[in-house]
C-alpha cells in the first residue's frame, strides 16, 4: 500500500466534494422533474466509496448496487456523462437506458450499479472467477448495503467465493438502514462482518476482515488496501464499513424510522468536514486550496448539468438496439 501524498489526498478531497455537490444537484433536478424513477443519494457515504476505490489498481474491478453515483464518480467516470444518464440522454454512460441505478463503464472496469438487492453479488463472483480462470491477478471490489447481507444471494455468493477461493473483496457499506428498517431489526447479528464466519474457518475460505470507520477516508483506504492485497493473494474477504446516509433512502422517503437529532449528529461528524479538518491540520495554509477545490467541484457539476441538458434524447433506434448481439 502506497502512503498517499498531498496530491493524492487533495484528489480524494476533490472526489468527495464533487460527489456531494453532484448529489445535491441531483436532488434539485429530481424535484424539478428532470430526473425520473428512483434516486438514491450517496450523501454521507463519500469516504467509503472514495477510500475503497483508491485502494484498487486500474485493472481491478468494481461492482455495486443502486446507490451508485458516488461509486461511478470515484471510479473516474465523467460527471458529464453520469449526469446525462440521470437525465436519460443519449450521452449518458448507459445511453439513457439505465438511469440512476444502472450506471456502468466497461472501460473503467465499473460493471455497474444494480437495482435488485443482492443481485450483483453472484455477478461479482463470476467476474472474479474469470480473473482467476485466466490467471489475470485482478481483484473484484463488490460493494453492497447492509440490507443485502440478509438476502439469499449474499449467502450463496459468499459461500461460492469461499469454496472456489475467488479474489473478491466483499465490502458492506453499513449505513444502518435497509430502506427504513434498521440493522438490528433486520439481521440476527448486528456486527455484519461476523457473517464471514459462516463461510470460512482455520484459514480456509472466507476471511473475516475488519470493521472500519467508513466516515474516515484514510482508514477506509488503508483497510481496504490490505483487504485487496489479501484477496489478490489468498481469496475472498468480508469487510464492513460503518457509515451513514444523510439523506433518505430515496427521494420521497418520509424518514419516520429515525430522529432529526440522530441525523444531525452525523452531519456534524460527516466525512467531508472531518477530512477537511484533517488536511488543515496536516498542511499549513491549505485552506485557500481547499476552497478552490470546492469552487471547482461546483463548476464541474454546473458543466455536467449543462452538458446533460444539451444532450439529445434517445431515439426509436436506441429503444430497440442492444436487446441481442447482432
Amino acid at each position: 500500500m502506497a502512503t498517499p501524498n498531498k496530491e493524492t489526498l487533495l484528489d480524494w478531497y476533490h472526489q468527495m466534494v464533487l460527489i456531494r455537490r453532484f448529489e445535491e444537484r441531483c436532488a434539485e433536478l429530481y424535484q424539478q422533474g428532470l430526473i425520473g424513477g428512483f434516486l438514491h443519494l450517496y450523501i454521507g457515504q463519500e469516504a467509503t466509496g472514495v477510500g475503497a476505490i483508491a485502494a484498487l489498481k486500474e485493472h481491478d474491478h468494481v461492482i455495486t448496487a443502486y446507490r451508485d453515483h458516488g461509486i461511478a464518480l470515484a471510479r473516474g467516470l465523467d460527471p458529464k456523462r453520469v449526469m446525462a444518464e440521470m437525465l436519460g440522454k443519449v450521452d449518458g454512460v448507459s445511453g439513457g437506458k439505465g438511469g440512476s441505478m444502472h450506471l456502468a463503464d466497461r472501460e473503467r472496469r465499473f460493471w455497474g450499479g444494480y437495482g435488485i438487492v443482492g443481485g450483483h453479488l453472484p455477478l461479482a463472483a463470476g467476474i472474479a472467477l474469470a480473473s482467476k480462470y485466466e490467471d489475470r491477478g485482478e481483484v473484484v471490489l463488490c460493494l453492497m448495503g447492509d440490507g443485502a447481507t440478509n438476502i439469499g444471494y449474499f449467502h450463496e455468493s459468499l459461500n461460492l467465493s469461499a469454496v472456489w477461493e475467488l479474489p473478491v473483496v466483499w465490502l458492506i457499506e453499513n449505513n444502518q438502514y435497509g430502506m427504513g428498517t434498521s440493522v438490528a431489526r433486520a439481521s440476527g447479528v448486528t456486527e455484519l462482518v461476523k457473517k464471514a464466519r459462516a463461510y470460512g474457518d482455520n484459514g480456509r475460505g472466507m476471511k473475516e476482515g475488519p470493521r472500519i470507520d467508513g466516515m474516515n477516508v484514510l482508514e477506509v483506504y488503508e483497510q481496504v488496501s490490505e483487504a485487496v492485497e489479501y484477496a489478490r493473494k489468498h481469496g475472498p474477504i468480508l469487510v464492513e464499513s460503518l457509515t451513514y446516509r444523510l439523506q433518505g433512502h430515496s427521494m420521497g422517503d418520509p424518514e419516520r424510522y429515525r430522529t432529526k437529532e440522530e441525523v444531525e449528529q452525523y452531519v456534524a461528524s460527516g466525512p467531508i468536514g472531518r477530512f477537511r479538518a484533517y488536511l488543515i491540520e496536516k498542511y499549513k495554509n491549505i485552506e485557500p486550496k481547499l476552497d478552490e477545490i470546492d469552487a471547482r467541484a461546483l463548476e464541474e457539476v454546473d458543466e455536467a448539468v449543462e452538458f446533460a441538458k444539451n444532450s439529445p434524447d434517445p431515439t426509436f433506434e436506441d429503444l430497440v438496439r442492444h436487446v441481442y448481439v447482432d
Binding site: S94, G96, K97, G98, G112, A124, A130, E134, L160
Partner: protein
C-alpha cells in the same frame, strides 16, 4: 464422415466435448457436473478429460450458479451452466431474467453475455408437482434471452454447439424422458444449426401441427395414426421458443388451413395462444377452422401414474383435436 445414430444424451455430450476442445474459454459449472458425471450422465468422463478448472461442481445453489455464470460470461469466459432441472431454475429466475437477459440492453451494449444454461424439463416420471413442470414458455417471455427446445439428437447437437458459440444468453432445455432417443447425427466438429430456425419434421397437406420438445414425439405418433385414416399432418418443430420462427408455420397453414398446437406447457398463456394469435393476425383469410391447442391440463402434476398420464398430452388427444379441425 457419415452420420451415425446416437442418443440425445450422446449428442449433448459430443457437442459439449467438441466445444470445450475448440475453445479454452468454454467451461462447465453446475450441480453434479464433475465427480458425479452429470445427473443425467451427459458430462460423464469430463472431469478426467478437462480437469477441475473447466468442470466445476457447485453447491446446490441455483441463484449463484446462474448469477456467477452471468458474471463470468460478462468478463470474457463462455460458461455452460447446468441446473439439474428447470424446476430449480425458478430459484434462479432473477439472475436469468434480470441479469442474463438484460445487462446488455440496460448498459447500452457495453456487455455481452455468451452464456448457456442447460437444464431438463418435463413430467411423466411420477416426480410430483414440484418436479414435473414444463415451464420453458415462461422464459421465452423475456427479450434478451434465447430459449432452445430440441426434440431430436440431431437438433440437440447442432443447437447446443451453436448456442455455445453464440454471444447471447441461451436457456437450453432438454426433455428428461427423451435422452435415450436416437437419430443420425454428423460427426463433423463444425456441425451447427442456425439459431431461431424451426424445422418441418413431417410433410402433409391436411393439417399443420406446431410443436416442440416432447410434443414432437407425441405428434409423430399421432400423425402415424392419422395417416391410417387418410389424414396427412405436417409437423413443424419450432426448436426455439426464442427467437420464434413462425414462417414455416405460415407457409404450411396457407396450404392446410388448419392448425393444432401441441405442447407440454400448461394450457393458459402458452405457445398455442401465441401461435393462434399470430395466425389470426397474419392469415385470417386462410382459416378454415379454429386453432386447437393440446397442452397439459390446468392442474399441478400428481404422483400417481394413471392420473399423471391423464394430465399430460398424448397422441390420442392430438388425434382427437386434429379430427375436430379437419371435420373428420
Amino acid at each position: 464422415m457419415a452420420d451415425r445414430p446416437i442418443t440425445i444424451r450422446e449428442a449433448l455430450s459430443a457437442a459439449l466435448r467438441e466445444e470445450m476442445q475448440r475453445d479454452e474459454r468454454v467451461f462447465i459449472m453446475g450441480e453434479e457436473v464433475g465427480v458425479w458425471g452429470g445427473t443425467y450422465a451427459v458430462t460423464r468422463g469430463f472431469l478426467d478429460e478437462f480437469g477441475e478448472k473447466r468442470v466445476r461442481d457447485t453447491p446446490i445453489a441455483e441463484m449463484v450458479i446462474a448469477g456467477a455464470a452471468v458474471g463470468a460470461a460478462m468478463a470474457g469466459l463462455r460458461p455452460v451452466a447446468e441446473i439439474m432441472t428447470i424446476n430449480f431454475a425458478f430459484l434462479a429466475l432473477d439472475a436469468i431474467v434480470n441479469h442474463a437477459a438484460k445487462v446488455r440492453y440496460m448498459f447500452n451494449g457495453q456487455f455481452t453475455v455468451p452464456l448457456v444454461i442447460r437444464t431438463t424439463t418435463g413430467g411423466g416420471k411420477q416426480l410430483g408437482a414440484t418436479h414435473s413442470h414444463a415451464p420453458e414458455v415462461i422464459f421465452a417471455h423475456f427479450p434478451g434471452l434465447y430459449v432452445a427446445v430440441p426434440g431430436t439428437a440431431y437438433d440437440a447437437k447442432g443447437m447446443l454447439k451453436a448456442s455455445i458459440r453464440d454471444d447471447n444468453p441461451v436457456l437450453f432445455v432438454e426433455h428428461s424422458t427423451m435422452l435415450q432417443r436416437r437419430s443420425p447425427v454428423p460427426d463433423d466438429p463444425d456441425f451447427l444449426l442456425p439459431i431461431g430456425k424451426s424445422d418441418v419434421k413431417r410433410r402433409g397437406d391436411d393439417v399443420t401441427i406446431v410443436t416442440f420438445g416432447k410434443g414432437l414425439e407425441w405428434s409423430t405418433a399421432a400423425a402415424e395414426t392419422l395417416a391410417q385414416d387418410g389424414i396427412e399432418a405436417e409437423i413443424i418443430d419450432l426448436r426455439w421458443l426464442r427467437p420464434l420462427d413462425l414462417e414455416p408455420v405460415f407457409e404450411s397453414f396457407k396450404k392446410t388451413n388448419r392448425c393444432v398446437v401441441v405442447e407440454e406447457s400448461l394450457p393458459m398463456f402458452n405457445v398455442g395462444a401465441e401461435v393462434a394469435a399470430r395466425l389470426q393476425d397474419e392469415l385470417f383469410d386462410y382459416m378454415d377452422a379454429p386453432v386447437k391447442r393440446v397442452a397439459a391440463m390446468d392442474v399441478p402434476l400428481p404422483y400417481a401414474a394413471e392420473i399423471e398420464r391423464m394430465a399430460l398430452p398424448s397422441p390420442e388427444k392430438i388425434v382427437k383435436a386434429v379430427k375436430e379441425v379437419v371435420g373428420g
